[in-house]
């Protein structure tokens, strides 16, 4: 990975390695100190929230219905936990009220060129139901900051924090693991352009394009079902697996529930060596999908294990691709929900 774009000429003049250390030092640090929300849990806000969400569960607004479920009275929807601590529109747009740690981290990420942010996922654990009168506070602590990843949006880092929600007695009521991608918008990337890499390759863009970065869309989602989920789950862990029949040991891809050679429904997987050759390839120009950079080189790669797969070729100009070219696996984290095996040409002697 190249250094963060701003590191060389940053105010502190720090080299890239120490920038990494400064980011790493944020793990465990408090971003937002415990702070009570503006209002205690109350029925009017519950009513508005339930109406806006179309949630008609009566336990939120109907005392009798709530008691019929064994509760002492109405409860707040669990997923409102965060809502009780939100600072409101005016404070948010004015940039007021986030903690000193949060402001320091934002500045450090900005220094690295990570000026854009997109929320990627949120995991909640609820310890008890909130009831009117509870007054919720939240404290936010950094759990981890990832190394720089190539994503469809641009190079960036995933920042994971843990938000602990407590009541007015200091007891924890909910815990949220919150992840955002802080990224460098592509046109401002200082990485050298790699014409074969769909993450960095962009057609010549005008100054106007650079100023108005259009919203990026994600790559098409795979339709994940019971027969193929294992493959995409392994991919999310950066493992390229091949389905293997447990009966006759034949490998097969794309996978399926039944072995065409022996009829067995039993199977396991083997992990591919990640080495292969280009069996055929195309260079896509039209139609264009906004998740990809064009021209886009898509190949059928034949793995050492003799199965083939459709994949992208990276690190090579379209006119340099040849059939039977040796290639090796690497991973593309297209976005937080999609990791894909892609292949890069390697020298002939790198092949066994």
């Amino acid at each position: 990975m190249s250094e963060p774009a701003g590191a060389e000429q940053g105010e502190r003049g720090t080299p890239g390695a120490s920038y990494e250390e400064r980011l790493r030092a944020f793990a465990g640090r408090e971003l937002v100190p415990p702070k009570p929300g503006p209002d205690p849990v109350n029925v009017p806000m519950i009513r508005h929230w339930a109406e806006a969400m179309g949630d008609r569960n009566p336990v939120y607004l109907d005392e009798a219905a709530a008691r019929a479920t064994g509760r002492p009275g109405v409860v707040a929807p669990a997923s409102m936990a965060q809502a009780w601590t939100m600072r409101g529109y005016a404070a948010t747009v004015a940039g007021r009220g986030s903690g000193p740690g949060a402001e320091e981290l934002a500045a450090l990420l900005h220094e690295g060129g990570y000026t854009s942010v997109v929320a990627t996922d949120s995991e909640f654990e609820f310890l008890r139901e909130l009831v009117p009168g509870d007054h919720v506070s939240v404290r936010e602590v950094v759990e981890s900051i990832s190394p720089e990843k190539a994503t469809a949006l641009g190079a960036g880092r995933f920042v994971t924090t843990v938000r602990t929600y407590t009541d007015h007695n200091g007891a924890t009521v909910a815990v949220q693991r919150w992840r955002t991608l802080r990224f460098r918008p592509k046109d401002r990337s200082h990485k050298p352009a790699d014409p074969g890499d769909p993450n960095t390759a962009r057609p010549t863009s005008t100054a106007a394009d650079a100023q108005v970065e259009p919203p990026k869309v994600l790559r098409p989602r795979p339709a994940v079902n019971r027969d193929n989920a294992f493959w995409f789950e392994a991919a999310s862990e950066h493992r390229l697996v091949i389905q293997r029949c447990a009966g006759c040991r034949a490998l097969r891809h794309p996978p399926g529930p039944c072995c065409p050679k022996c009829g067995s429904f039993e199977w396991d997987t083997v992990e591919s060596s990640g080495r292969g050759r280009v069996h055929s390839f195309v260079v896509n120009h039209h139609p264009r999908h906004p998740a990809f950079a064009y021209p886009l080189v898509v190949a059928v790669v034949e793995l050492e294990e003799d199965t083939r797969l459709i994949t992208d070729l990276v690190g090579v100009r379209p006119e340099e691709v040849t059939i039977d070219m040796p290639v090796a696996l690497e991973w593309l984290d297209a976005d937080p929900g999609l990791s894909l095996p892609v292949f890069r040409p390697v020298a002939q002697e790198d092949q066994p």
């Binding site: 098409p220 019971r226 069996h279 055929s280 999908h289 459709i310």
Partner: protein, 395 residues
């Protein structure tokens, strides 16, 4: 089997054909296009809508037979069926109809296909943003669309590149297919590209779509409808037009078949499902490649015309580029091809307009009628489970 005794060969005939105009914006519903085409075909056969008792279309069609029957005065139906796999269905609809007629399940079967493929849902834009479910058909796209391989031109390009590598074919070899199609379309007033022929230089100058495919390797997108009426060969002889007898009708799905992406077979430079169709066509009809006077070969993209010629025995493996360069597909050649202009030149109607052209060739009414077009071979979509026909004057 003695071909004379094959129960399907010679049992049925296409007695009527009818189509709408072929356009880029019909301004009408797909159902209305289907109704217009069906009524035109029934009238062409000299029959009434109430004579129809069977209907066949594609699973891809948006208008079920009940809507057409209800709207056009077709009454009771004793047979209705649909064929899957896009353009691969075309000749399969006629096979279904012929089998129904041969077994007495129905007497007058209409096969139809109508869509607003240009002004409505355009297949060429690909599958990337189609709604998802988790059924096996949809899940099959999981191996392609996340990598940016989502449109038919791209799927075909993968086969084409490998074919070029194995047999030394070039972009110009593909271009010659387009030039023949457009030359024939130029003389066909019903064709979108009427009076607009192209040269090989035009082809070579056209922009890349999915290398090695250029724009002029790709068929157009069309709004329109086409219908055909199938009756018994015996009844057809009493109807106004000379019958186009179904001498053979076959479907084929190959080993390790995928939808447009059968990239996992030992070799991907052939189209084994078309070979399977061809063997059945010759077996049923008792004919050989040299008995075929003209061919309507599916041409959604030019490169797959070449392995079709090889799979169907018109030339050897890898020899199609020479067969084409020698002029064999032109009107004076050994195998006049796509005399209507093909889907590149006339219209993209999922192959159904090509079957109608084969009927005209048998009737002797094509605008590009070759001197001897007895026994016309027709194919359906390539890269998919497919189908084929041999039509001729019969006895």
């Amino acid at each position: 089997m003695n071909p004379c005794q094959h129960p399907l060969s010679g049992a049925a005939a296409i007695a009527g054909i009818g189509a709408t105009e072929f356009s880029k914006d019909s301004g009408r519903s797909e159902l209305r296009l289907a109704c217009e085409a069906v009524l035109a075909a029934v009238a062409d056969a000299g029959l009434k809508p109430s004579d129809v008792d069977g209907m066949v279309t594609f699973t891809a069609d948006t208008s079920s037979e009940i809507h057409i029957a209800r709207n056009t005065g077709i009454g009771e139906l004793t047979f209705f069926s649909r064929i899957p796999h896009g353009g691969g269905a075309a000749c399969g609809t006629i096979q279904q109809a012929a089998m129904a007629v041969a077994t007495g399940v129905a007497e007058v079967v209409v096969c139809y296909r109508a869509f607003n493929e240009r002004s409505g849902e355009r297949y060429g834009l690909g599958q990337a943003d189609r709604p998802m479910d988790t059924g096996a058909d949809r899940a099959a796209y999981s191996w392609m669309t996340p990598f940016g391989l989502s449109a038919p031109a791209q799927w075909v390009a993968m086969f084409a590149r490998r074919y070029m590598h194995e047999y030394g074919a070039t972009s110009e070899d593909f271009g010659r297919v387009a030039v023949v199609d457009r030359a024939h379309a130029a003389a066909n007033p019903a064709a979108w590209f009427y009076q607009r022929p192209i040269t090989l230089a035009d082809h070579q100058a056209s922009r890349w779509i999915a290398e090695p495919l250029r724009l002029l390797d790709c068929c157009q997108e069309t709004d329109g409808g086409q219908a055909l009426v199938v009756v018994s060969a015996e009844r057809a002889r009493d109807l106004p037009h000379p019958p186009a007898v179904v001498l053979a009708a076959a479907q084929g799905s190959g080993q390790d078949q995928h939808m447009m992406t059968s990239y996992y077979r030992p070799t991907i430079s052939g189209i084994p499902e078309m070979g399977l169709v061809g063997r059945q066509l010759y077996g049923q009809s008792g004919l050989a490649p040299e008995d075929i006077g003209a061919a309507i070969l599916y041409d959604h993209f030019t490169p797959l015309v070449l392995p079709q010629l090889e799979e169907l025995g018109f030339c050897g493996r890898g020899e199609a580029k020479d067969f084409i360069a020698e002029g064999n597909l032109e009107l004076g050649g050994r195998l006049p091809f796509n005399t209507h202009g093909g889907q590149l030149g006339e219209a993209y109607l999922h192959g159904m307009n090509g079957i109608a052209e084969a009927v005209r060739l048998v009737r002797g009414t094509s605008v590009n009628q070759p001197p001897d077009a007895r026994n016309v071979l027709v194919t359906a979509g390539t890269g998919v489970p497919t189908s084929g026909l041999v039509l001729g004057p019969g006895e």
